[in-house]
Subunit: 261 residues, 2 copies
């Protein structure tokens, strides 16, 4: 896409995200309907669904030819990254949304023939909208975001996933030990935004496409690296252990993880 068209789309999507945030804030004042998906730790609410419906409708209006993969299934059945593809998470960190009313995000990633093109992570309660892509740069609430320093693992805090840390999957305890310590927030969107902001040198978790579609675009636009845990490229249509990190932290983490693979 041409840069000017991308910039226009970017502005329009940010407006949609502001509306989505208002929708979520309004709905938070009403009684939530909460249901379990695969377990008591995997929740969905009426707000996930209504916000997904809103986002899918709005994005479709902005880009009628796009296919939309959305967490709660209200988009399209997407089996290919050919053409324009949106990957949407209406509320990332639903557990936090339900039990903390804090620390959750609205997210969307835009891929054109598989190329990371635009990404959006809206930390709703922190009121910080990370937006942009490799061609137009990344902003937070409209202000340009500088690339985070390429810190080594030993000089930064590490965003961990609780199950991987407790069960020491992928040597995560050694990874954390080589860092300055782990932080666990329970939202991929919030933790990836902390890597973007330089608050964490990396984040490793088992993720589904909508958990990292936005974050991948934004991270790569800022000189960070996104890969599978063995260093191979991610596939935006499948789930797996995904690492978002500074270049130097990634090297150290891959060395720890792959020595026992």
């Amino acid at each position: 896409m041409e840069k000017q068209a991308l910039q226009q789309l970017n502005q329009a999507v940010q407006t949609v995200f502001q509306q989505a945030r208002q929708h979520v804030l309004t709905k938070m004042g009403e009684k939530l309907t909460v249901a379990e998906k695969t377990s008591r730790k995997d929740l969905v609410t009426n707000v996930d669904r209504s916000n997904e419906l809103f986002l899918v409708q709005q994005l479709r209006q902005l880009d009628p030819q796009a296919h939309i993969l959305a967490e709660e299934g209200l988009g399209d059945h997407v089996t290919s990254l050919a053409g324009h593809v949106w990957i949407v998470d209406p509320i990332d960190g639903t557990m936090n949304f339900v039990h903390q009313r804090n620390h959750f995000a609205i997210m969307a990633g835009y891929y054109v023939d598989g190329e990371p093109t635009l990404g959006y992570i809206f930390d709703v309660m922190g009121n910080r909208l990370y937006a942009g892509g490799p061609q137009i740069g990344v902003t937070v609430n409209g202000q340009p975001l500088a690339k985070p320093a390429d810190l080594p693992l030993s000089d930064g805090l590490f965003g961990a996933s609780a199950p991987l840390l407790i069960h020491n999957r992928f040597q995560m305890q050694a990874v954390v030990d080589a860092s300055l310590g782990p932080r666990i927030m329970g939202s991929a969107g919030i933790q990836i935004s902390q890597v973007l902001a330089g608050e964490l040198v990396g984040y490793l978790s088992y993720l589904r496409p909508w958990d990292f579609a936005a974050g991948r675009v934004l991270a790569e636009s800022l000189g960070l690296v996104v890969s599978q845990v063995d260093g191979t490229p991610v596939n935006m249509l499948s789930s797996g252990a995904v690492l978002v990190a500074t270049k130097r932290a990634q090297r150290a983490i891959l060395a720890i993880v792959t020595q026992t693979m």
Copy 2:
């Protein structure tokens, strides 16, 4: 102390805390001087020291007869809780302060003949000042804070300490498993404030007096319970594993922890 005198002191201390926050924010714009205390994961900065000096001077002016126990040693050598005792942490979560410039707190607790009397936790970047005590109630930025619901462990997120979780001290992995999941922020002040706000049903960590002196006052004022990990009372002049929780979560946690003690 009489309620009116306490309310006056409370207002004066909140003014001091606002000044301390401004001091810290100003200093954050300058180059930090960082030193290791006991290890590379135990830091102190010039701002910890300058803010402690400021707080000790101001609190001494408000209450000249008080003894002041402060983390960086710029207060008094306190060996008794007789009389008026302030326990001060100028920056709780120094690692976060240095490496995230976020998620840290300024704290002070006030004990009169050992009785929890006033507490202050200032989430500096979130700009939320928790203040008050059992006689005057608890406010956040001046607005009354309601008591959090007495949720059971199974209905809430749990604030964990990374070393205890990784090494499964005090059965913390079973505790976390019985909850809806762990969250790790790296600051006792921030995590205890999340228990106060109802975002977590409990928090367990190895703490020193200044890590929980403020939080204990505020938590007990809101109907939460603070104890050692075996359920016995805390001692404000010694360190140990401290549990802050709702009454129902505490019962469940003690049952898990003590079955193997």
